[in-house]
Symmetry: C2
């Protein structure tokens, strides 16, 4: 008996597609500015702007839109056409309105696990947009709690799991080594890394190899068996 009492899930690229929409939008952004600047260089400049701005914009599409606009102004030294700015706004608004695309095995895995454990959704990003995606996903009723946070640090996991037995009896599941795995392990939880394949550059971190509470799984379909093993069923 190990006393697992609650399971936390990340949302973007753990339950539904996210990064792929950012990549597609970046490609369109590069096309829009192809007359001014090489695409690879533009994406580097955009990433620099995102890194610089994340401390006051936080995570999410609105900040991404603002960083694209800033990058467009800067790489063109102010010569960007106003209509291009309008197109960047439209691209961002399309992202905000995009239908939710669930990842494989999400529905059955959450269905099985929610019968046995309270599930908590722990995600960062724009508050309203994350709420809207959860509503559109149809998964809302499977979660006992939803925490939309500005950043994922160990204290966030301690608070999110406090009502359900505490972080040391919790398992966190997500696609970000930096945001889901490392801080959850630091809070004393089990952590399951389910790589998505597309990882935002700001979400990378070293693998906590050797930590007995850490496990990598190829997809969410394997999660119920791992949960059962941890719980000693």
């Amino acid at each position: 008996m190990t006393g697992l009492t609650v399971i936390g899930f990340d949302a973007d690229d753990t339950l539904w597609q996210n990064e792929s929409f950012f990549r597609l939008t970046e490609d369109r952004f590069a096309e829009l500015l192809a007359d001014h600047v090489d695409g690879a260089h533009l994406k580097e400049r955009l990433l620099e702007a995102e890194k610089k701005n994340v401390g006051h914009y936080g995570f999410g599409i609105k900040g991404f839109m603002l960083s694209m606009i800033e990058t467009a102004v800067e790489v063109t030294e102010g010569r960007v056409d106003g209509r291009v700015i309008g197109q960047i706004l439209e691209m961002g608004q399309e992202m905000l309105g995009h239908p939710v695309e669930l990842l494989p095995h999400v529905e059955e895995t959450l269905g099985v696990l929610s019968d046995r454990y309270p599930l908590v959704l722990i995600t960062k990003g724009d508050l309203l947009h994350q709420e809207q995606k959860l509503a559109a996903s149809g998964l809302g009723d499977l979660f006992a709690g939803v925490e939309i946070v500005s950043d994922k640090v160990p204290g966030v996991y301690a608070r999110a799991f406090a009502d359900h037995g505490g972080a040391e009896r919790a398992m966190m599941v997500g696609n970000s080594m930096k945001s889901d795995v490392v801080p959850a392990l630091a809070a004393g939880s089990w952590a399951v890394y389910v790589p998505h394949g597309l990882e935002w550059a700001l979400e990378q971190a070293e693998t906590p190899a050797g930590n007995p509470r850490y496990r990598e799984l190829p997809d969410l379909g394997r999660l119920p068996a791992h949960v059962a093993a941890v719980a000693g069923d």
Copy 2:
């Protein structure tokens, strides 16, 4: 004995200045585009954009920045100078980094009331920015709970007060008739309206005259006496 058990506070323009920074930025926005469009007309167009966008941007400065940029592109039919777009971004970033300016009587009133009641901060806007303002305000330790929400509807008050005796034993205090007073009354709470003088056009609503749980106060300095009267001390 009426059983008051918890007091909720709005943040922007209830505890600290907010709308005034938006108004100053709107004035600067109008100056930037003075060669293209009359200031009053520009502000009308900006308000229209904000109304159109609030459903996917939510409340807060990032959405305001995006609506200013959209308005600048549209009123100039794409002829806006890229450097003007850069200046709009800078204005928004200045707003995000602006020091917190507490309103009169806030510190002593919260100090007195927090000795007798749990206080809950209930605010909408950008998650990260609201957290940063609360940290910068120095008021964080006075609150038993903080709820940053995407919109203020009766269910939000029911949830925010659930751990402290429920909405019917709660008092909500704020400067917005539409967001603080009307939905809190609908949830069964007492509500105190403390007008700020500057009201965003999207925050207006009719006064709930005649509701015995409603009271208007000129400033937060009067709140402890009103609380004592409600509590029957």
